[in-house]
Symmetry: C2
Subunit: 475 residues, 2 copies
């Protein structure tokens, strides 16, 4: 063994030890969720420079340790900030192996293992969605999966668009709920329709799209000479975690010949649970579905499945048939680049495969049920605590709530909203800076509201009541 080989051996051993220590420490509630520094302070603390002369291989473990020291511990039970959380050793190992073998998913030839594994996973996810003849591909995140659904829909509605673009006077219109993710209107911008081409449909009191309003708006747009072609229902909205009524929306979409997409980036995973899959009843009627295993299923970022009910749409919308990639008679079933916006593409399939092998459908189902239960229990706690109130109360994995300190609880109407808004922003910023909890907020009905997300099953009732205690104490 050469000296350099010995050095590499030691380094990888160190990395493995650091990994297991990190996984263990992030469960330690006496450790902060994050050691907060401002960007300039952090740059100094990392001694971040990019040297002209290399410092050798033995200098990297120090970078690894610094990185982990100052990173947000997204696996910590008190990280409640984003639509993901926890960590899964099997999935981490899958990603490590993918990095090690470092190849690209454009062709079967370059990525034989990744290709057949992705095919098996896509088939499994399609089965859960009810897409019996479905096909799909992994994309670098929900926003890009959603964009791909708009591209497929555009191609079906305007078949001349790929070659010649839209015709003059052709005004496509898309629909999504007022609480949908910004990637839907942005997909319309990217496609060249402009933001004004996405009509936001009003929601009901818990944040679900109103199918009657959808139909009214479609009719209105048609009368105005526009061409409605696409509607995105959301399964698990970003802020309130609401599930749009999919079967109702599908009926409207069918009557008006719209492509129906489900943005299940967040809530698609509810399909895994016998108890909660009714939230997506009617999914088999949709034309496409985005589903991110990197959210509730705890796969490392990114793992985003773009699923289509019928085969062929992705290649029709995006295929370029470059001859340096696809040799004669290349089988499009096994050469996936033409289904995507990418050319080179990471092997995202391995991590989900490894995790599925370890947990099985049942393990994932159990996880989803735990997360829904956790949110349910947290809602109960909030109902019982004076000063707290639920906003957009529904049964999903998000809990939106506001708080007022005792001295301010007499306030009413706009004044109360203003005070709650201030309290939310001030308290969550304080919690982040002392590192005790990371919990996000967002605007609902014009005022800030806390958003707790149940995405880590190791978050327990003591964490949740400690969160409410901390909010009270800061307030």
């Amino acid at each position: 063994m050469t000296e350099q080989q010995a050095e590499i051996d030691l380094l990888f051993e160190d990395a493995a030890r650091l990994a297991v220590r990190t996984l263990r420490e992030q469960q330690d509630r006496s450790q902060p969720v994050v050691r907060w520094l401002e960007p300039e302070e952090l740059t100094r603390a990392l001694e971040l420079d990019l040297p002209v002369e290399g410092r050798g291989l033995d200098s990297v473990m120090e970078l690894a340790r610094k990185t982990l020291h100052f990173s947000v511990r997204t696996g910590h039970p008190r990280f409640l900030n984003q639509l993901f959380g926890g960590s899964d050793p099997a999935a981490i190992l899958g990603e490590w192996i993918a990095t090690l073998s470092n190849t690209s998913m454009y062709t079967y030839e370059a990525a034989p293992v990744g290709t057949v594994v992705e095919a098996a996973l896509i088939k499994k996810l399609c089965n859960y969605a009810g897409f019996r003849e479905g096909e799909g591909v992994f994309a670098p995140g929900g926003s890009i999966s959603n964009l791909m659904s708009v591209l497929a829909a555009r191609q079906r509605a305007f078949p001349h668009v790929k070659q010649h673009g839209l015709r003059d006077n052709e005004r496509p219109v898309m629909f999504a709920s007022a609480e949908s993710h910004y990637s839907i209107p942005r997909a319309g911008i990217i496609c060249g329709f402009g933001q004004s081409a996405t009509v936001l449909v009003p929601v009901d009191e818990v944040g679900r799209m109103r199918a009657d309003e959808l139909e009214r708006l479609i009719t209105e747009q048609k009368k105005a000479g526009a061409i409605p072609f696409y509607v995105a229902a959301t399964a698990g909205t970003t802020v309130s975690g609401a599930f749009d009524p999919i079967a109702e929306i599908a009926a409207v979409a069918q009557r008006h010949d719209l492509w129906m997409h489900i943005d299940g980036s967040y809530g698609g995973s509810a399909l895994l649970s016998k108890k909660h899959r009714a939230l997506l009843t009617g999914s088999e009627l949709a034309d496409s579905l985005t589903w991110n295993p990197h959210k509730m299923m705890c796969i490392p970022i990114s793992s985003s499945a773009t699923l289509m009910r019928e085969p062929g749409h992705l290649v029709e919308a995006m295929g370029m048939n470059a001859d340096y990639l696809f040799h004669q008679n290349a089988d499009l079933q096994w050469n996936l680049a033409d289904r995507t916006l990418q050319c080179g593409r990471r092997v995202d399939a391995l991590k989900l495969w490894f995790s599925w092998q370890v947990h099985g459908d049942r393990g994932f189902e159990q996880r989803i049920d735990q997360l829904f239960d956790q949110a349910h229990r947290f809602r109960q706690m909030i109902r019982e605590r004076p000063g707290f109130r639920l906003i957009r109360e529904q049964e999903g994995p998000n809990v939106c709530f506001r708080f007022l300190p005792k001295s301010q609880r007499e306030a009413h109407g706009e004044e109360r909203a203003r005070l709650e808004h201030q309290a939310t922003i001030g308290i969550r910023s304080q919690l982040a800076q002392d590192g005790s909890f990371l919990i996000n907020y967002a605007s609902l009905d014009g005022a800030a509201t806390f958003r707790m997300v149940a995405n880590n099953p190791t978050t327990d009732d003591s964490d949740l009541s400690a969160l409410l205690d901390a909010i009270e104490a800061e307030g």
Copy 2:
């Protein structure tokens, strides 16, 4: 320590051992580059199923071993198939740590370390490009970086597009060389212009865009009522590795007020070399540059920098200012989601940071010089071997060539081209199937040609002459 913790410890130790063994074995020339199986055979060999009941954590090392056994060894010195190769332990570790800490680059709050590291790297790369006030962001690959450049250009030329889309009768036109990557015309398709809106400019005898032809075509399009707004020069074309004449193209672009992009996905790394950076002379005049450290710099896929000469364009083209991500007064310098097509985004910065620390500018420069030298020596070998001839002969890291067996060398004209075409396809397929070499082919002037890419410095002269021997023997 719990039993499960002990199991995780063992598993990560095993993974580290497997990693170092893999890195070592891929240097072993007695091992095949790939153990070729057809997709159905491979599915069986992997015993690929997704169990309903989980099989437990200790079942994953077997998956890891099978994955590596059947994967293409892209770090093998005889893997010459794609525009990447080799492997870098420091960069692999950087990616492992990023996976372990599993966060998302939308905001500084969620990814403090990734954000400041990415800023430092973007600044470094901008300096090499000559973008003194530049800004940028990492994207999931060159195709998406190129798309982002088209979106930025579209927004500058048609400022109403983001809100309202194109106006009737507005016909944007883009230009790229006839040998540019398909992601450029596809970006035009995605943006809604249609494939016909990308005009492919003829190339000279070595595959470089002809600036005089570009100017002629721009003028022609203007006369026809179209609006030329974008030209992509390529630094390192996919097949022949040609570098378009950037300064000449920039002069044309300036005269006609076009956004000038450089697709340096492949060849941008030549900027690191004092000896070869003249190939990109004039880069500081471009409006944007795509540069993939995952190609010649050997960073694991994907690492693709989207660089802009002037700040602001990315946010103008793509920013949505979602209030659940960007809280009041969010500093756009440190909250990067609005520069991208994504929302959640992997932390791609760490792996390049780790690698830069180990190698420094000098180490990267040395690597780039080695790769250019290797291609140069290979061209010499081909010139000296009867039956072989170079195609699109230039000085970059790609070598395109054809071969004819002795018995067929009397053929001329179309007959010769037909025979070379057949020989190329037949021989490279045989090499792939016996696993001795993986070398790609592509079509040039209507006939298949071998394309050797110098992307792994450990590929030595004995590998290169063994390749020519093997081609002769198969022929």
